[in-house]
Symmetry: C2
Subunit: 517 residues, 2 copies
């Protein structure tokens, strides 16, 4: 297999096949792929790069048109023997820069970043930013943070000169243990390690548990950050569908009967992105399967505290008797994403190794934000803030659902989540989600497209809309603009069923139609 | 090869062979290693675990004495067929916990953490803490930090609600670019990515460039954090010696002629741990070799600003014309280790991939400390602080060298570094470094033992003593206590040459005698 440091830049205007063609052209011209080199089969490369096969075929065809490669039916594609367009590679001493991508590790091509996370050009802030993972700037307890920071430096300033505790500031771990009682979890500070958030929890756990080729089960659709981190660890990802009760345990069982699975990643409190709360029976089935197969479960409880209606549901970890659930919590979605404090609750032997991995990765958790957070937890500020944002986000959720109802064309469907911070929208059949995305961006409406949440590239016609960040009026405006675009693209598709919402729900119709009734 | 999640806990009192024996015994008794399993050859396991072969032999012998394994000359060691001491493994549903280590990834056994970094039991703070990487708590500009934090929250508080720029806060990158002029480096903010420190820079670069089995060259002795991070990336580590001019380029050249090397890691400003400043001719030779072999170099400039005498020496990166040097800088050693801000300067294609790896690992750099640091850089506080600590550390270095001179027994040797924050001490021949370390710990004197800085376990009789953290009087006291212990152990070795210092220097006598004249 070619070692390709290639990945598609989805934020670039260029289509994927052209990006790949340009990349390969550079390698060919620099003789990194010398004449006669056999290129990977299109199916093989499509799989390795996580792209559709048509993309690879289109790239190869473009290179063939340029005379750079020759395809022979039944044999494959080869770098053309006669080609010698550019000068030979000059030695670096001549002032020529390194061809960096040719030095990249195989696993670096598994790295990816969702559109919208990379910084946008200045002055291009979208007016209607429905991207998830951000919170409302106006609602932040900034004065309390300022006070907590000042206190932290005054009281514990000298601690900042030392190697901080690799497990995390112990007083903070005590506060976290106390908080977790509300999630039904009883644990000691010694069973908690502070990390920078759910993303780091997943990454560190991948380092500790996942060897290249190990199978990891993730939800589909599911949190892209988890898929990316496991993918970068060279795990073999297997998706299991989600319905209105959460992760489909019967599907998981079939996977478990067929192969050894190293880890299951799940978001029971509010499935990311559909918002579905995992039902009690599914929780019991999941734990029974984990028992039977000695299978560790990573519970990402990112939204455990963001519940808007219905009775409170504890964490899956609260039901864990055998120590098979690893619990990841975060303060990013509640207080300040930028404080970057999350934590892991895990059995001690695992936790110790995870902390070793943390130290190896970045030297361990930063102390200052931990000091400030400890103060804010002790003073009850988190609780007060939670009460405020639950009310705030709940009103925004209602506004978003109402705007969807009144403005979206027939055939549009969406979830009505009881928790979390996003609504999962499915466009009417026949509407091209890629075109809607493009037009929306041009019109100042930004959101995460559904294909970011799947490993097979499906979901282009689905939208993950965060209601947490924008004020109600802006949400309504943004949805109306978006609806106008969808209506434009729906014209002529002939589909005129009524727009429908799915309470709490998602249903897996086929392999690819994932999220709605 | 066995998948062993084993690593030696050097902070435990237990010798390594016993730790290994206990670990294997548990696997055998739990039938994770069923009867008849062939154990790895001692040489192979020694290599895989980074332990001396005698350690493996001793562990196997202990297990053989217990009847748990049987060794057959010429065939190897096997788990005994007759053994059935414990009950069979019970299913988890019975309430039995997971056997976590058996689930660990192969690479997790490559994780390690230096003694002293893991938190010590409360109340056991050593009186004389000579561990490196920490700075002086009393010298920290705490009032300035408090002001900077308050200003950051007041001015940019709402930014804390958003996804921060994955490359780092741009105004900070501008300030860093300005600072780097003093190191001879001209670069744009777009060529800088903020990370949490040198450790993360190394780890991310390993993710981007290193495939399992790739060769990475490190200095010997060298910074353990680099060795650990590359090791966790499953790199094949090759050590190259250090002498009074720094990295031995002739030795590197021999390595490069023999095999493909993916990366060279070096600390030219003040070799970690010897403090040697790389000479101009070695810098030129290193860059020429990198040119010839298209070899990326990672320059860790952790101590670039901590120079105490002689003319200022710029960064290696300043001489880089071809974009082959990746530069890692950090504020941890200067201001607050706990702010956890460092940065990488790299060519753009590489930098972009490194930022992707950063996002995958932990979501990118935290904003709040960056905001505060930006303020402190703009106000000139870093420069003022640097002037203060250079003076302070210089006086402490002199005090440490003087104390070594007056109290260490004949035969002790040490470096006289011109930069950095540690002195590298070699005990007199015949003195048992392990016993000295034990007695010193018991007497409240803590330091990093030399073997932490080597990949072959050598260096037990060498000491890495940081002079940056303690006041002069405490340094003198601590060195005198340490000297008394060394004298006690030197008695009877018959070696009575005078104690000697090596200015700026280290010399590689043989494969293992690394650091002193």
């Amino acid at each position: 297999m070619l070692e390709l440091g290639f990945r598609v830049d989805r934020s670039a205007g260029e289509p994927a096949y052209r990006q790949l063609a340009i990349y390969l052209r550079e390698l060919i011209d620099a003789q990194r792929l010398p004449p006669g080199t056999k290129l990977p089969a299109t199916r093989e490369l499509a799989c390795a790069l996580g792209l559709a096969r048509v993309t690879i075929v289109a790239a190869y065809e473009a290179l063939a048109r340029e005379g750079r490669i020759t395809s022979q039916v039944g044999r494959g594609s080869f770098v053309s023997a006669a080609l010698r367009t550019g000068p030979a590679v000059k030695p670096v001493a001549s002032g020529r820069a390194f061809v960096w991508p040719s030095l990249f590790a195989l696993r670096s091509r598994l790295l990816a970043i969702p559109a919208g996370i990379v910084p946008r050009a200045p002055g291009r802030e979208p007016r209607y930013d429905f991207l998830g993972g951000q919170v409302d700037g106006a609602s932040l307890p900034l004065a309390e943070l300022r006070r907590a920071l000042a206190l932290a430096v005054r009281r514990h300033g000298r601690e900042l000169a030392k190697h901080p505790d690799a497990f995390g500031w112990r007083p903070l771990r005590r506060e976290i243990a106390r908080l977790l009682v509300a999630r039904g979890i009883e644990c000691e500070p010694e069973e908690i390690a502070v990390v920078s958030g759910a993303q780091q929890a997943i990454d560190l756990l991948a380092r500790v548990l996942v060897d290249p080729g190990d199978t990891v089960v993730i939800e589909q659709p599911g949190y892209f950050g988890a898929a990316l981190a496991f993918c970068a660890a060279q795990a073999n990802l297997v998706g299991v569908g989600v319905d209105e009760q959460g992760l489909r345990t019967s599907e998981l069982e079939r996977v478990l009967r067929a192969r050894r699975v190293k880890l299951v990643y799940t978001t029971p409190a509010a499935q990311n992105p559909t918002g579905v709360v995992m039902s009690d029976s599914r929780r019991a089935e999941l734990l029974a399967l984990a028992d039977e197969h000695q299978l560790p479960i990573l519970e990402d409880d990112y939204a455990g505290e963001l519940r808007y209606r219905g009775h409170a549901v504890g964490a899956l970890k609260a039901l864990d008797r055998a120590g098979q659930v690893i619990y990841a919590g975060t303060f990013a979605k509640l207080l300040f994403p930028s404080l970057r404090i999350g934590f892991v609750v895990a059995p001690r032997p695992l936790l110790r190794t995870l902390v070793l991995a943390h130290w190896n990765a970045d030297g361990g958790p930063a102390l200052l934000p931990q000091l400030a957070l400890t103060t804010m937890l002790r003073s009850g500020e988190l609780e007060r803030h939670l009460r405020r944002v639950r009310k705030l986000y709940s009103a925004r959720l209602i506004a978003m659902l109402e705007a969807l109802r009144t403005s979206m064309p027939a055939g549009t469907r969406w979830t009505e989540p009881a928790a979390g911070h996003t609504v999962w929208v499915t466009l009417p059949d026949g509407v091209d989600g890629a075109l809607v995305y493009q037009d929306a961006m041009a019109d100042g409406v930004l959101y995460a497209r559904g294909d970011a949440f799947t490993i097979d590239g499906q979901g282009v016609s689905q939208l993950d809309l965060s209601f947490a960040r924008l004020p109600e009026a802006t949400i309504v405006e943004g949805i109306e603009r978006l609806a106008a675009i969808v209506r434009r693209h729906a014209r002529g598709t002939g589909l005129r069923r009524g727009a429908r919402a799915t309470r709490d729900g998602a249903k897996r119709g086929g392999a690819l139609d994932v999220a709605n009734r």
